[in-house]
Symmetry: D2
Subunit: 345 residues, 4 copies
């Protein structure tokens, strides 16, 4: 099968390349870049020198249709909703890594992304690309909205309990911490090395645009509209998200009973690992891999559940999950190209 990447110069584009390079079933036949049109890939990403040196093409629906069977859109939010409808109309399968097709509700998009959605009809068609929840739908999908990095971390951490209906949602708090690569490749004051190293901060406190995406998916699982507090923080490191989640439960359970619910829910799942105590999740244990690790801890002093979740924001939180979705859409083994050992140290 032939695949393409629209917008290859950012970090998710580059990470897709890395993963697809090791995939035994697909051929990369088309990569585009607006700012590097006409230039070979290593001029943007020098580590590809001698490995993968396609020339960056301008975006063209015609060329995409001619050269590929499926395209990944790694364009920024706002741009993707312009390009994806064209690709879909031309009959191509699309996996969109931006936020543009994740929310079913165009009003929510406007509220959180401060921009009118330009292609609302597509919102209903897109399948939310979290294989652990929507495997069968993804297999049949033509347009997959690849989840955000924070949402993947949080939804996987809560899905088993949400589906059981035992979460006391109004008590739920998500304290999330992310490495810097999640913010992308464009330099900024906040991500300037001397500002960011040896520093730690929260940002968009209770206002992050990934909030409605998590709430949408967890509401579906819970069978009712749920909402909660979400606070992201910026870690002085490159890769990794760790979410610490606090919640009361509506029923009394032991830590072991809770762990059983997770075990059952994720039985057979290749990329979700429930850690046996006393092991606790660390971002380094999933580095550069497609795993999402989970730890369960019951705070018996306060009768409160603590769930810890760790993943690599560029892999399970972006490009790896996109490849997992592609595997489902194109009929490959789900873990093809994703069976690497996490990089440690």
């Amino acid at each position: 099968m032939r695949v393409g990447i629209i917008g290859v110069t950012g970090y998710t584009g580059s990470e897709l390349l890395r993963l697809l390079f090791s995939h035994r079933g697909v051929e990369l036949t088309y990569v585009t870049s607006h700012s590097f049109t006409g230039k070979p890939l290593p001029e943007v990403h020098p580590h590809y020198l001698g490995i993968l040196e396609p020339v960056c093409r301008p975006f063209s629906v015609g060329e995409a249709v001619e050269k590929t069977d499926l395209v990944f859109s790694a364009l920024p939010h706002g741009e993707s909703m312009e390009a994806v409808p064209l690709l879909r109309e031309a009959g191509l399968k699309v996996i969109d890594l931006s936020a543009d097709f994740r929310l079913a509700d165009a009003d929510l998009y406007l509220e959180w992304y401060k921009k009118e959605h330009s292609a609302p009809p597509y919102l209903g068609q897109a399948v939310y690309g979290l294989p652990e929840l929507y495997r069968e739908e993804i297999k049949k999908a033509s347009l997959v909205a690849n989840p955000g990095c924070y949402p993947t971390s949080v939804i996987l951490a809560l899905a088993p309990l949400a589906a059981r209906g035992v979460v006391d949602w109004d008590t739920l708090v998500v304290d999330a911490k992310s490495g810097t690569s999640g913010a992308g490749r464009v330099p900024s004051q906040v991500l300037h090395f001397p500002e960011c190293a040896e520093n730690f901060r929260a940002y968009r406190v209770a206002e992050h645009q990934h909030t409605p995406e998590m709430e949408q998916e967890l509401s579906k699982l819970a069978g009712r509209k749920v909402s909660f507090t979400f606070v992201p923080h910026l870690l002085p490191m490159i890769r990794g998200i760790l979410s610490t989640i606090y919640t009361d439960l509506t029923v009394k359970m032991t830590e072991e009973e809770i762990r059983d619910i997770y075990r059952e829910f994720y039985r057979g799942e290749k990329f979700v690992r429930l850690l046996p105590p006393p092991l606790l999740v660390e971002t380094r244990n999933v580095y550069a891999s497609n795993y999402c690790d989970l730890s369960i801890k019951w705070d018996s002093r306060k009768n409160r559940l603590i769930v810890l979740s760790a993943l690599d924001n560029l892999v399970k939180g972006a490009a790896g999950q996109a490849v997992q979705n592609m595997n489902l859409m194109l009929g490959f083994k789900e873990e093809e190209g994703l069976e690497m050992v996490p990089l440690r140290p």
Copy 2:
């Protein structure tokens, strides 16, 4: 005035030296080290070469009494409770930077530190050395128990509301993140650079030994016994603690009303800074300084208060606060030796 440091080889001992060196009212006349007895300070801390080169002495109550008016004990937990009573019996003023005299209740000490307290009578005499709460008591104290780094961060963040009685304690969660220097100078697997860099993890989830210390102090402020969930995390950086605190309130207030309570509570306080929005606390803004920065954010979607608190664990979280206490005990200006600009970048 002449001061001494018992246990000068660790990070808090070294940081005390750094601060006292710039203090215009005291002379450092006695430093001890068990492992470096007889050696000049730069053999342990080479950055002191040519600056401060006292020879490390063995611990001796007699010498301490003869040479000093006040001593700081920077011994590890468990060792300090052996040494401090001897110093006190000899009539010396003592500021203890260990956890040994922070808890009023010897049973709590046993429960959380897994060790029988060897000097329970002194627990009642020690004043908890948080100047913003106990300024007058500290001035008259002979034994000050210098607060822990996490507790300083959390108590200062909650004191104004605790004192007002508006915190709904059973909903309260503290998610704290600390740099590595808080764990001390002794090498370990967890703090080995290749394990710790580019990594993030939680530890002692809902089981950290600083929990009862926070609860003790906040209970006093609240006027009733309170408890909550506390989860610490390890940041891949050297200095800095940031605590993110989530709680419901028992009365309805606007963000601005809450901020007023803080402003009033900390009026005239030199080392607590309430940040004006949209500024949010960052550990780098208090780096190597005695400040504790606070941000207040009301999550209006969930009617939940979020308080963010940042300090340098070795300064306001340890040695700086100890110097602040010393200033009060010896009649210096409270900010003497502590008026430095935070180091950024």
Copy 3:
């Protein structure tokens, strides 16, 4: 083919596991650990949970012979020279990642490693495992001494010119900088995070034990005994070595002529990349990969050549090169298991 790893708990052992896991021709049938005997691998290396969980065995020649066709010894220097002769006598092919069989001269070993060599007869049998220089010998070898990380970086940077006989050796200086993982997994004061982060230092200045290994190999290429100054430094990062090499040449050449010599020397080599100017080597461009990148720069003001070399100390500098050697010894395609894209960011 069945392979084993003796001493799997260190960083090179763990990195071997990572690479062999993706190798399509070998099966890992035997791993040993002295300190973790009887325990499943994830107890030492938790990131292997659910991926690779062999039980660590005690070292036994009998078991090695029975279960494997080739073993990697990832034991520390000094221990390997005890174990390897036993494995060889039992007929096993061995790739030794320690320094114990790299020097042909037992006296040199004593001089630089401060330890009498316990198996001098094997020194002559071992092939120095740098495939770019000894490909044919490695194919036929039974014992391969896998090069050190610094030596690989320096020898590959100088081999083309050494073989041409144009290096003015007495002017040559190697200024090398390494990430911390090269120092291994055992905690120490120097590698304690708060000592090592935000810090940079030289160590073993002109006294590093890798010096004779480089000189031995470059002498062979030069056809005469050569020596030079080597100064290593410790970088506050996990992976990567960059060597900056300064030398006069004995003949007059342009930068482009020099580059031609390198191009010719490394023609067809998969893992050595000569960068086109103005691109300069960066450790990140070879991160977690088996590449060694080279840059050539002629300082026309001083008629001096500057060669820059970058590799990942755990891959091309250790485990990756070992797998490359194994491929040659067992008849696999040389790049099998090593065709990954460097990890960036």
Copy 4:
């Protein structure tokens, strides 16, 4: 005395503020910023909140004259040569932290900075502000050109031997490594955290614009025109420069004789520390301080001298040295405001 800072928003401007705040003899009466005109300092540098909150003024010679006795220019290269002549003509003492007045030769400026110098007459008047070399001239100077960070590190490392005439200059190589803050506060791709962390690279190999400045000063000391190879590298850390210098000597000396030359040359110098072996310089031992540490090592295998030099690029390499110069120019004790302990950990 009243002092001002022209261009307060960059890192050197901010570091000057930090040091001047602790200086007991001067008052900061005037700070300017082009981009933050009219705004209080904490809007650029939030860590100054509640500490130092002057409003940023536009640059005006009249206001400078009226409000100050001496000004620091922390403008970028190219801008400073426009502003400084105006300040000088108005009779103000000026310390310029840019490169604009360091080179005596306007042609050299054009060659290395690729820009015509706009005020050549001032080049002759400026005193090179390295107090260890030009103390008496600085005391009488009206315009001081504050040295670059790399040049301070290299000149202090070589001055004793240069003055003795024992350096074999054509063999000399400087391999320098700098933290990222030296590159300033403006974000760029190279200093973007995910590009810069866990990465190491050389840049401007044998072409760095600080080269002629070092050569100019060392030529004066050597009494003849000297030149050498200089290669800078970028360290994944915030502060610190370490230079490793390799050279042959023209006379035979022991390591101890060389050390004696340094001891004698720097006798009485407060800010140059010659480390006793086996101690070796580390950037962390001078962090946030005005010290320059030196180590001497004789490579007896190759009869080559290795000098190691470490300083904090923002302090002894910029703002600290500027304050030292100010102290000399205004008649303060030379170390006033600079007697701090290096920050470690």
